[in-house]
Amino acid sequence: MTDNILEIRNLGVRFRTDTGITNALNDVNFDVPRGKVTAIVGESGSGKSVTANCIMRLLQPPGEIVSGSIMFEPSEREAFDVVQVADRDPRIYELHGGLISMVFQEPMTALSPVYRVGNQVAEAILCHRQVSKEAALAEAHDMLQRVGIPDVDTRINMYPFEFSGGMRQRVVIAMALVCHPEVLICDEPTTALDVTIQAEILTLIKDLQAELHNSIIFITHDIGIVAQIADYVVVMYQGRVLEIGTVRQVLKDPLHPYTKGLLAAIPGIVPKNQRLATIATSVGDADITTPYPLKDVGDGRMVSQP
């Protein structure tokens, strides 16, 4: 058993529409260490969500994987390449929610409005294990308690629209974790939430991770969140990986000009009356658009550079 639960190699994705072809991912490479939190950070269009959908095999047409592999090695199973699994292959459903599960950005719309939250969580269990509905509901109840839903006994029978955004996101998290997946993918789970709620959700995810020791891929555009939650960081830009390293390496001593630019553009970091850097200014004439391959620059760091 290697210490990487996921190894993504040369992943390429493109979107073909009647108006043209866009390469969403070009030659994406990175590892997801077991039992750690790996953050994928990038701005919109960087392809971070597409990457997640590939790992989840949720990529919908017109999107298609054109190259590469995603080696997935669960603890009690031999490794397999997610990309190679056929659509109708039962392993897909095992994957969905069983081995890997996902928390999405929009808590308001991520739950079906017409089913009680308890049933929606319980369904996740019933999809993967042969247990009675009662048993499933009981587990759902515990899980909901675990994610900090107050007064579960009554709330388990409520409908999503009776919940606040934060509470809904807790439900979604419960739904994602109820089958004890080995990998949890969080796709901007707090972007739609207020900052105080965001803090609560982040704390919750951190605590649960410490408790369950599962591997987390955390997708975000917010450097602050990265700093707070991640062990490792993958910086993406225009469908490419620019830099990989531990959170301290990347945030405290960025190597790639784009990463530098990104950090120099954040009001929180930049002193008050100092002018914010924009990518344009900070990158200067450094070339960040040509897709150089990732180079290993020692102590586990990778940077895309000539």
Partner: protein
Amino acid sequence: MNTKAGDDGRILKVRHLSKTFDGHVALQDVSFDLARADTLGVVGESGSGKTTLARCILRAIDPDLGGSVEFMSEETGDWVTLSTLKHRELVPLRKEMQMVFQDPYSSLNPRMTVRQIIEEPLIVHGERDRDERLERVREMLDLVQLSQDSLTRYPHAFSGGQRQRIGIARALILRPNLVVCDETVSALDVSVQAQIINLLEDLQKTLHLTYIFVAHDLAVVRHICNNVLVMHNGVVVERGDVDDVFDKPQRNYTKLLLSAIPSPDPDIRMQPAERSILDHAEPVVEGYGLVEGPVWHDDYGLLFSDVLYGGVYAVDNARQVTPVFEHRRGIGGMVDHVDGGLVVSGKNVSLKRFGETESVLLLDRDPDNGNVGYNDITTDVHGRIYAGSLGSSPVFDDGLEPRAGDLYVIDLDGSSRIVAEDIQLTNGLGFSPDGKALYHADSRRRQIYRYEIDKAGELKPREVFFEFDSGSPDGLAIAEDGSLWVANVMRERVNGDSPHDETASQFLPGRVLVINPNGSERTAIEIPVPMCTSVCFGGAGLRTLYIVSGSNGVDGDRRGGVYRYEAPISGLKLTPAAVQPRLN
């Protein structure tokens, strides 16, 4: 910039602005001033009312009656009351104040070219000359760093950042003085956000703009704003210089908000505060004027007085209110007397003792010596009564020489004397548990004095025990562990107005500040209504903290009431000094 009549450097005066959308209060009693070329941040979470505030100021929404928004028009060179103008009358003023929106997509008409969008304001304001207009539009494009060939394109051709630039151009082409940015950079990616922020800052320098910057990203606000309003549930909970507020927040909500920001430095772990610190004390009775002098009475339950509308009332556990004396305005402090009966004091009220039947004058006020009455009072173990006189001050506009108040003591034989002097505005009084020290709040100096008491039971010279950064101390109670529970009135004068103009103050929700015996701050208990005037302990085992609040003193206002808070201190009892000897 040319200053005209009435121009005192301020560009905006907002007073008691409120907005109610069918029943639900979106904005409540907001007041602030805005200096020209200043940048005011308005922060808060969704539903805090920040956007409503922004739109009420520009009259995109009509605010409720009562409040007012005054704007220093450069045109007329005088104050204009925006909040009451007819929409038609507002049109000329639109030149001087504009808005930049949040959503770069819905804020531009998809069926107009960039040129049409940017020159629309000129057309509306009667610029006939096409070439002139085009000229101005081209200027604006340069100003916001958009290429000239954007002119003929439609919004769909632009990215979010570029669209925001278009929006800014539209807002600035009329050369406004006041620009309201409603979450202008929130929808943008970090790097683009940086560009727009820089642009806004540059434009402010070149065009002497005044910004109201509504945002939920506190980092952004701190970066570009000088002053900030923190809003929560439609109420301003804290305001001030952005660095002060962010570095040492006073209000629980602000603390919560700031503690929740994830720091971009991995070595600074965020420790979000508990949401429970927002829990308010729960109301017992409401709908009174200025409620004062609460005292717990084993027979009556809680006694309180209404300074504004008069009367002393008792409220029992069932929240049943029974009047004790009717029609007595101005009663401030109350305390049981060693010989039974209730001693009351107050503005323009002499110190009287009300027994079952007769009332005895204990200590008369003496206006000629600048003593217009007494405020809070307390008794020591022996039953001696300590009363702080209000002195006389312009606040009471009774035409007397302004004079600080004194602290009187009435001995058991009824003789009285002054034991301390020069108290700016006397308030809460109370003894430490061991009875060895007397604490005394001075509202105007915003200090709490501490008097050691010597063997003979005389007061030593006072020292300053505690200073208030925000708001001022009012009544206080002292717990068994020696902690001071001080009513903290969060009324802040809106800068620049006459100090005695009641309507010119911004009321923040009241709170009770808990101060450790060593003078350090422990915590704050907040109540939903503005003026927190006094506190006392009561209820079974005297474990409950009763908080009384007043209204902003304007007649007809009935936001005053009594609130209760279960004190989280184990075995909390009242100090001997505060325990009243039972009536007969």
